[in-house]
């Protein structure tokens, strides 16, 4: 950058001083504007929640927190949530590890299909699993009726199962990428020295993956406890923090308690963030890199192979069945109850209206999100100002924050003048922009890291101003990142539920909320059809993204999505 600035100064002889100042400081001005946006749309709503949790009608008070920690119901809610998080994390980690081990170490022929099945849930809204569990095991479920079972799906078990299935892909992706990054020669060396498969796993693979596994575990824990949809649909009378927040706001209009619940939900996230940083400090193993190659399949001993295969097949089968069931159910009023094949679920007016609204909101969000994402990543990578890492941290934080927090935050922050946004499309779009900003920023950062600063310096050296360089050099190179950010924001926004559920107004329904409502009211056919429509839209986006990433090779950076 120094050279760029120097050459800017050198060629500025003829220009006015104002222009020179702008030229030299544009990046800082840009950073300031972006920071203001982040502060206003991300930090302020969070702050609003924090304040609301300690600010009653009579000013500052701790009574809401006192109430939270003294009432048995809330304690139940908290312990259920934490227990759910722990069970989910462990199961997802085990399943994800088995799947990833098979797709990176197993026989060639199994690798691709297993990988596809493991990643398929990414194209679906996470609450698809709640829906399919209702179809299979609900009070009128296929399996329930077939075997005349007397069980209760609604409650802890249902939530755990649906959440686990929903988070397997994330676990798989993160573990797979760490497994892939492990130099295969390490395991081969151990094998060469006479170690058995189990010994290699115990002494080499798992110790070396430990930091990656821990990171995956923490992220999954944070995301499962904050996940709203599955718990809200399947919890029944069992309290969980995220859906309780929702009922607190929409049912009882108790913003103070709702805020307290949100803060309690953030607390573990922040705690874990620090634990993660402390634990992983200096734990990065560096080795001399060779050419990383795909591990050749080994003769895996049955002792390892059989249990791994069982886990893998059960998980893959469950995922497959859930999808199949939702697709099938979309053609019946209630699958298993009314056995008449119908198409009307797809023609339902409110559903299509909701889909249309969702597309509009997601599109606006994607445009704004991609632009801000590209600009932010540029400022973060190339900027030299104080607080750069802080901006990076803030812009990536939306992803890890519980959606309910930003939902309530937006309600609190933007429902009164001077900035009344509630009731319109903008509040929904902006909410999505700042929640999912991480994706666009990450895409931009990884793209920028591929571009040598010398390219920009060369442009400046040839006499181009900062703006010319930015528009003629940086933007064209960043374009793939922009598109990636656009499509990812679109895809994520269109299926997201936990924040927007607070923000939709009666006249402006969104698809995700429509599915949620239909599932809760038992309109399973319509819920399924709407889900299928959403899946198709997401698949289309994926296809476009895939096409672009093949053309521009930006897609590889996308695998870091989960790390955000």
């Amino acid at each position: 950058m120094a050279t760029a600035e120097l050459s800017l100064k050198l060629q500025s002889g003829s220009g006015s001083k104002v222009r020179d100042f702008l030229n030299a400081n544009l990046i800082n001005i840009l950073a300031a504007i972006l920071f203001l946006l982040l502060a206003f749309f991300l930090l302020y709503p969070i702050l609003a929640v924090l304040i609301k949790s300690v600010w009653g009608p009579d000013g500052f008070t701790a009574k809401y927190y006192y109430s939270f920690f003294s009432k048995k119901y809330y304690f139940q809610s908290l312990s259920n949530t934490l227990l759910l998080g722990m069970i989910n994390t462990v199961v997802c980690l085990v399943v994800g590890f088995c799947l990833a081990y098979m797709t990176t170490r197993g026989p060639w022929i199994l690798r691709k299909p297993l990988k596809i099945i493991s990643l398929v849930p990414l194209i679906a809204p996470p609450y698809l699993f709640a829906l399919s569990l209702i179809i299979l095991f609900g009070r009128n479920g296929l399996v329930t009726r077939m075997f005349d079972l007397q069980w209760q799906l609604y409650g802890f078990t249902g939530v755990v199962i649906s959440q686990t299935l929903a988070f397997i892909p994330l676990a798989f992706m993160m573990i797979e990428s760490t497994l892939m990054s492990l130099n295969p020669n390490l395991e081969e060396s151990a094998y060469d020295m006479g170690a058995s498969e189990a010994t290699i796993l115990r002494t080499i693979t798992i110790p070396l993956l430990a930091p990656g596994l821990l990171k995956a575990a923490l992220l999954i824990f944070v995301m499962t406890i904050a996940e709203f949809g599955n718990a809200a649909i399947l919890a029944g009378r069992t309290p969980f923090l995220a859906p309780d927040t929702y009922t607190m706001i929409t049912g009882e209009s108790d913003f103070n308690m709702g805020s307290v619940l949100s803060v309690v939900l953030i607390a573990p996230c922040i705690l874990i963030f620090f634990v993660h940083n402390v634990l992983l400090e200096g734990k990065k193993f560096t080795t001399i890199g060779g050419k990383p190659v795909a591990s050749e399949p080994r003769k895996i001993t049955p002792l390892i192979k059989v249990p791994f295969m069982i886990v893998t097949i059960v998980a893959a089968g469950a995922i497959f069945i859930c999808f199949a069931v939702v697709v099938a159910s979309s053609f019946y009023k209630i699958l298993g109850v009314t056995n008449k094949f119908i198409f009307s679920n797809y023609l339902d007016f409110t559903s299509n209206q909701a889909i249309y609204n969702s597309i509009r909101v997601s599109f606006v969000a994607a445009v704004i999100g991609a632009i801000i994402g590209v600009l932010l990543s540029y400022v973060i990578v190339r900027g030299k100002f104080f607080g750069r890492t802080f901006i990076e941290m803030v812009s990536l934080s939306g992803f890890a924050l519980p959606g309910t927090v930003l939902g309530i935050g937006y309600l609190l922050a933007f429902s009164a003048p001077p900035l009344k946004l509630t009731g319109g499309i903008m509040i929904l779009a902006l909410n999505c922009v700042f929640r999912f900003l991480a994706v666009g920023v990450e895409a931009g950062i990884s793209k920028l890291h591929q571009i040598h600063i010398e390219i920009e310096e060369a442009s400046a050296d040839l006499g181009a101003s900062f703006l010319t360089t930015f528009f003629r050099i940086v933007l064209p190179i960043m374009f793939p990142a922009f598109i990636a950010g656009f499509i990812y924001t679109f895809m994520t926004a269109i299926v997201s539920l936990s924040a927007v559920v607070f923000l939709v107004s009666p006249g402006f329904q969104l698809a995700a909320v429509k599915i949620f409502d239909s599932a809760v009211y038992g309109e399973i056919g319509i819920a399924s059809a709407t889900t299928v429509k959403l899946i198709l839209i997401v698949m289309l986006c994926m296809a476009i993204l895939n096409f672009i990433s093949k053309k521009t090779k930006v897609g590889s950076s996308m695998s870091r999505k989960g790390v955000a």
């Binding site: 081969e188 060396s189 020295m193 006479g194 170690a195 058995s196 080795t287």
Partner: protein
């Protein structure tokens, strides 16, 4: 070990083929490696040398053929049951273990008692001159030290064959020279049969008893470094092991007893001493003229046998040698002049005399 035992080859490869899908990467390789010998697979990237090494190590299954180690067929044995140990290009040292734990890993998984492990590790580390480094973590070592640890680890279980996959390619040029001497010294001292893989032909020539030059999954030639360099079997090998000037020619006459041979070319006739038996009068041949074998002198006054007159195009003085380009008619020749004492004069010379030695190697052209 009695005399006959010692003569039996340690490692035999019999018509090895390897397919990846429909892609045949090893196309029928046969080779015998003697006890205590250091054999190097050398060839351009993609020639199959590393694949062949991995096949011997057991990391990849062979499609057909036999691998025989010390008289025993080991085709179907996994790496942990083969008496071969590999040292990978990137060393593959376990980053979460100390130097001693790395070296002792094989002993530990093979259930050696603790005291014996400690003693053996100490012995190995002293052998590679890292006696004081046992408790260090791997990332606190330099590249050369890591290389030694990897070497010690591979030797820990006293393998019958040591496999080295481009072990020096991650070191800088000077260290590479030092390490290759050390590896060779240790290898000779331990008398351990070794298969070495490299793409660096000079490294290969410097370190090996025999070279196996490979190309496209096939062995092109097997021989000592001298044989490979001075009597390459074909154009590819001649060009691969160093720069070479080729000149087309035809055998005009062969004197049967002295093997004095006259080769006629577009640039004149040359008298050489023929080494091969399969070249006869009338054969089309390719003269293999090494840049350093040619004598260069200023001016073009002499005329005589094997002397050509040329224009000196470039003269790049580099201390121990000068690299020259000489045009003989339309033929460009690269000539290395070692110990260039007359550099000052050559700098300004135009006409030069080029003397082709009698020892020029001939390649018979395939019809």
């Amino acid at each position: 070990m009695d005399g006959r035992e010692a003569e039996k080859p340690m490692l035999i490869l019999k018509d090895i083929h390897k397919f990846y899908g429909n892609n045949e990467v090893i196309k029928g390789v046969s080779l015998e490696v003697k006890r205590g010998e250091l054999v190097t697979f050398v060839g351009p990237s993609g020639c199959g040398k590393t694949t062949l090494l991995r096949l011997i190590g057991g990391f990849t299954d062979i499609t057909s053929g036999d691998i025989i180690l010390d008289g025993r067929r080991i085709n179907d044995l996994p790496p942990n049951l083969r008496d071969t140990r590999i040292c990978f290009q990137n060393y593959a040292l376990f980053p979460h273990m100390t130097v001693a734990e790395n070296v002792g890993y094989g002993l530990k998984v093979n259930k050696w008692p603790k005291e014996k492990i400690a003693a053996r590790v100490k012995e190995l580390l002293e052998m590679v001159e890292l006696g004081a480094f046992g408790e260090r973590m791997i990332d606190k070592l330099s590249g050369g030290q890591q290389q030694r640890v990897a070497f010690a680890r591979a030797l820990s279980l006293e393998p019958k064959v040591l496999l080295l996959d481009e072990p020096l390619s991650n070191l800088d040029a000077n260290l590479r020279l030092v390490m290759r001497e050390e590896i060779r010294k240790l290898q000779e001292r331990l008398h351990i049969t070794t298969v070495f893989v490299t793409h660096d032909q000079f490294e290969a020539m410097a370190i090996s008893d025999r070279l196996v030059v490979m190309k496209n999954g096939l062995i092109e030639q097997v021989g000592s470094p001298i044989e490979i360099y001075e009597k390459p079997a074909n154009e590819f090998i001649a060009a691969f092991v160093g720069y070479v000037n080729f000149m087309d020619g035809r055998i005009e006459s062969v004197e049967q007893t002295t093997r004095n041979t006259v080769v006629s070319t577009a640039y004149g006739k040359f008298e050489i001493t023929l080494e091969q038996d399969d070249i006869r009068t009338g054969d089309e041949v390719l003269m293999v003229i090494r840049p350093e074998s040619v004598n260069l002198s200023i001016d073009c006054k002499r005329s005589g046998k094997n002397i050509l007159c040329g224009n000196l195009k470039t003269y790049m003085y580099a201390g121990s040698l000068a690299k020259c380009t000489v045009m003989i008619g339309d033929k460009k020749m690269i000539i290395d002049q070692y110990n260039p004492r007359d550099a000052k004069h050559f700098k300004h010379a135009e006409k030069v005399e080029v003397e082709i030695p009698r020892s020029v190697h001939l390649l018979k052209k395939k019809l």
